[in-house]
Symmetry: D2
């Protein structure tokens, strides 16, 4: 099989259920979003439908977790979709029927998993498929997630690999194309309030995927992944999170400028530092935490331009977080701008070329073209003159297209523009 970096030649484009349905998404919702994507977004390159956390929990009903609860599980300690939420999963079919449906639309299907083995499987001392060991043998005696009680982390032993093989093979048999593995990528600080880490478990999952005979893209959460681990992450995963959960708040968006700067230059074919989902459109439909229930994004339009522009020029994976069928026209327009998608998929060499208290400027390159993103991080509308002599020939005229508005102009040495508070302009120059 080819190297896993070939399985995501450009940064993934998709949808994830967390921002709109939390821990409680169901089959109908997954299919409705898939239908919408097939009809409205597929032609622009969007392809992943990802079911996020707790699909194995029958009683999940909102954005929060039920501690120590019963999970749907097979005799080998492998979690299964809760049939009351995913009816097609009955009779041990798992996610195969849903994956088949998604594939039939020309899209790909992904799921979320937690690092480790279910505590329930340890309590029941389940056998591990194709192994003489049991789940009790592989559970690490004190490696627990700090925010979810479902699992134990695994020991660094052979039987742990066998367990990971058993679950990845199951998911491959369902037709899973994308796995977002959680509680695994924060490894710098082994501290009490931030203990989720396990380099060797990342390596085991890599090995399990490489052996499963299906090209499954691997995404790691949560963030912040430590910058010092970049080489290890590039060797084992397709994408990994740069921050904790991202929501529709300006302060979190503002902080992302620092994170992108920190990870500047790491992005490469098959390896994508990940700014997290796009919390736009209709969010938090099941409510109880992470902001008001059933809201449209709290980001202003200028902030949404900033969000899309930064994620795009940085080549972060784009995972839409809202409930797609409830998109308004503006939201949809952000996802279907061809020039934007072309930049996101094909540009290279993105870097920050200017920053002060009020303005941030990034630039990247395409074939005979430059992209320049100008961000107004101030609270007032401002006129900005962006010096482009460091990236192009001085005293020379170029044509400029502002990607979001479609406005065209001629520029020399500087790009002059006016930007709303927290807003952005994105120029294609040639």
């Amino acid at each position: 099989m080819s190297n896993f970096k070939e399985w995501a030649k450009t940064p993934p484009l998709g949808w994830n259920s967390w921002d709109c349905f939390g821990a409680a998404v169901n089959e109908k919702q997954l299919k409705e979003n898939a239908d919408y994507m097939a009809e409205n977004l597929k032609q622009y390159g969007w392809q992943y439908i990802v079911c996020d956390i707790q699909w194995y929990e029958p009683n999940a009903k909102d954005n929060d977790y039920n501690n120590f609860c019963e999970l749907e599980m097979d005799e080998y300690g492998r979690l299964l979709p809760a049939p009351n939420r995913f009816p097609s999963a009955k009779n041990g079919k798992g996610f195969k029927p849903i994956a088949d449906y998604v594939h039939s639309l020309g899209l790909k299907f992904g799921i979320h998993i937690m690092r480790g083995v279910p505590r329930q499987a340890v309590a029941q001392n389940c056998k591990i498929l194709n192994s003489y060991s049991t789940c009790r043998d592989i559970a690490h005696h004190f490696s627990v997630c700090s925010w979810n009680t479902d699992m134990y982390g695994l020991k660094d032993c052979e039987a742990s690999q066998e367990y990971y093989n058993s679950i990845i093979n199951l998911y491959a048999s369902w037709g899973v194309d994308f796995i977002k593995c959680d509680d695994i990528s924060v490894t710098e600080f082994r501290r009490w309030d931030n203990p989720y880490t396990a380099d060797y478990e990342i390596e085991m999952i890599r090995k399990a995927i490489d052996g499963c005979k299906r090209e499954i893209v691997l995404s790691l959460s949560p963030g912040p992944a430590p910058r010092a681990n970049a080489a290890h992450l590039c060797k084992n995963a397709n994408m990994w999170r740069l921050t904790g959960d991202f929501w529709d708040q300006w302060d979190k968006l503002y902080e992302m400028f620092d994170k992108c700067r920190e990870w500047e230059g790491v992005s490469a074919k098959g390896n994508y530092p990940d700014c997290d989902m796009l919390p736009i459109g209709k969010l938090s439909k099941n409510g109880t935490c992470h902001g008001p229930q059933n809201r449209m994004t709290q980001f202003t339009k200028p902030e949404q331009f900033t969000l899309m522009t930064l994620w795009g020029i940085f080549k972060s994976p784009l995972m839409f977080g809202g409930n797609l069928p409830e998109n308004d026209e503006f939201t949809l327009s952000l996802l279907t701008n061809e020039k934007y998608i072309e930049m996101h998929q094909k540009s290279f060499g993105a870097k920050q070329i200017f920053r002060d208290n009020k303005t941030v400027i990034w630039a990247s390159n395409g074939k005979k073209r430059k992209y320049v993103a100008i961000f107004n991080i101030d609270k007032i509308t401002r006129k900005i003159k962006a010096d482009i002599t460091s990236i192009l020939m001085a005293d020379t005229q170029y044509s400029a297209l502002e990607i979001w508005s479609g406005e065209e102009s001629v520029v020399k040495n500087k790009i002059a523009c006016e930007i709303e508070p927290h807003g952005a302009k994105l120029y294609l120059i040639n």
Copy 2:
């Protein structure tokens, strides 16, 4: 009821099963040690027989823990003695028959508990006695012990107090006089590899004991208890550990000089910084870890004098760790020196008065007398002259009795002695 500090007016003297039987002590062994104590030690003040960890685990067989195993437990999530190990506990009698036996000998009975609620009770979602809550409601979602898989720590909520009340009341009904609560007293570093901490759980256990109508002495483990927590510990417990587990190794004994110095001045009626058990006599009968199986202590005789002298002048609780019936004459002699016991029980104001690379000197006070302990921490036999002018009148004669040897002398300004490597002399001066 009186203040709990009245329940241990002097530092406790007793026996604990851990050093000789590890996690696997049984009823017969408890009784044999109680018999020995009643016959040989009781008249000197020794009184506690303490059953250490894992008495609720049927399959415990040595010094190590079985991870994620089944525990003997009642319907309210309260652990019970494993009847295969403690036959008299059958039919829900718990430790009452053994406590009754110990009491019949004129001694007191103690048990070890772990902070929190059994994970097994959480998995089964047991009810809590006299509460509308269940064990699942009180388990903290990520407070776990780093070295034992039996329990979850508790949340800081009312039902947690109800659970602690339910277990302490049960133990009180059995006639328990002493509880050594483990995984609870290391609170300074909330770190991944040292996460056992819970100030509020200490307070809950204090409250449960104060409400149980039985005078139960409370001992906290493991160490190192942080020095900065001294006030909190004094307010809630009778004794607490200064270090991690202590064994018969010179380096650990050597480190205890620093610890005693650090805690100098804290000891008071009912509050005793605890240097841990005395690992002398016959140890590790069930083997597998913590040194050679079924050995006599690896401490030399001089080291045993040092051990007894330091623990004694510092007024640490004395919990003998060997299997009492296998004591040799020398070991027994260490436990039955009247002058020594009198110092341990009645002296006050102990402090280190000298320390260099080779010698440590402690002094404390009794009625019209001084105690001076001289330690040779060097590897060779050395003559030492201990200056006593800072604690007594210069140029004045005093009589001196070396407590271990019984040798008498007259001293003025200095005590001159010769001490073997790692050995000690202990003087009563008047």
Copy 3:
């Protein structure tokens, strides 16, 4: 009078006596170097002839300082050229005859001064011109230079300004065009071994020059000037040193890459971070310290290309340090490359665009052109491919001229070249 930044619209080009004659330069040598410059270098823009330290000391004879020695001085405590070394200075004419001579060649004349007042003037308690105060009144009681015993720093008082006025007016009357003030620009660390600092003295000298009615360029030494002081330096001086004394050693040249990176972006019209003199050609003619006596530079030819290329693209002032009349052809060729001088004088926006253990790349801009400097900091000859997509349009052809060799080529996306150990290539691209 105009703002002082107008007096050095582009970075100064000149010659300084220190590297070749140390503390002992004389009138004949100054004139010989001026003659050479007028004949060979003037047409390329070179114009300053600067007489460095100790011109007021009759007995100076080499590169070292004589401690506590007698200095040539007038009744107002102002130092004068030693007539035995500068015969034209007799009868109180100072440097006026030499300055006149230099001016007659179409060049400019500069001198070195030390911060403060001569200790000799303090001992004699000289009057200050146009003041009621004396030199004893203004000497700071413990502000002394750590490497030269001639002066005391000044107190922050009005009479200190009067003293500085008196000396600057004298120098202006001689026709001085350039002052290199020493022992003044290290202000970050007020430490025992690095105590030369005095922000207020910099300001006093600025004020004295602005009031003297002559456009005198102000250069500050020694380095390292603290990066945090950039704003203060820009406000008060035309140039300031980035490091301690620079000599013909690779390790010092290597360190300059870090310094240039640190000061990147500060250079502006009239404000030039200064990498120090160019120690090439014939050096240390008077010997005793700073390397072998009367040597040709110890830099290899590749290292000399690196030196010139880095100083040039960074727009450091260029002050030639060798004895000009003894230049060989190669050395002269470095100073008379028109394309190089054009870059040095007119380029803008220099910055480092790449660095690893073996390669450093800087780029800057001119009118419809880019400059790209590629440095091989490794010990072996290496082929280097320099990516230029971040500064120019990708997939587009440009013409490239290597400035030192004159080789022309066509480049696209990358510049490929082979560079000798410690060597450099410098490209003009359009």
Copy 4:
């Protein structure tokens, strides 16, 4: 000759001119103080009359220094008493007539010197006696005192030793018994604002004294001498300062408790950590700085008891700072308490035995006796019970004499007393 530690077998008792006359003491004042001492204090052990700084400066007139001024000096760069202030010094007699006078009273004579060589001697390039070198050869080029402009520190070379020999021999020939060398003992922080340091100069002065054939006690200033240098100080000097200049302010007195604690245990025969002069009686007669001119000490009577008690039990040298002839009865009584002087001269083993926010207790030992000093550092009068069981036998009666009041009592386990704000009690117990 004997070891220098034999020359001050007990801590020196004397008078120093600084606190009352500053830089301007004269011959008459020295003699008046000597007369007073001979008549009133000599019988209690007081013996040193010490002339402090600037005796070589003709124009000194108050407590401050004149910068860069002319000094009285011989041809070898050795400072001499200014004859206008010390008439008997005329004709090169130096301090010999005054020393003779002091000796005739049965007292000893001391002088203050500054580390190094006069800058005036360097400017004049004086020869050094018995050497081929000159003062210019030995002056360190940037070792200057931060608060006085008279001297340069010396280089670490042979001729520096010759210079120190030349001055010490001169002082010995005058009959000097005590030298207080200043600007020499702060060596821990080599910082710009605290640069006076020179371990090797201390060693040179030690060597010069040991070679001068006169027993001259050596005192080092200023403080704080670094605690880490204790061994070096003990090897080279009889006493050294623990703090900067001490004056009659409670905050400085309060801080001395910390300093004494820090240096506890260092005092030994011939080596005395020095708490500085006693600023009591009539002070600052020449005014201009260091408090109101010509005042009686600003210390309250309780504070004076604290001052005397702490200095006394700590065995600091006692150098009275007031003008002796103007003593009132209370001040004199502090200097003539026989029990107090006996403690100061003969006690040993002083240490702090208690400290909290309000109370400090020190204890030390004598022959068949203890001394206990109780300090009330609070702002209100307080009753204090001082536990003495750690230094004496518990439950045993002792007789106690309060040294300042003469009150006698019987004590057991505790000393109960009432002390005024900032006051002290001093007990002799036997």
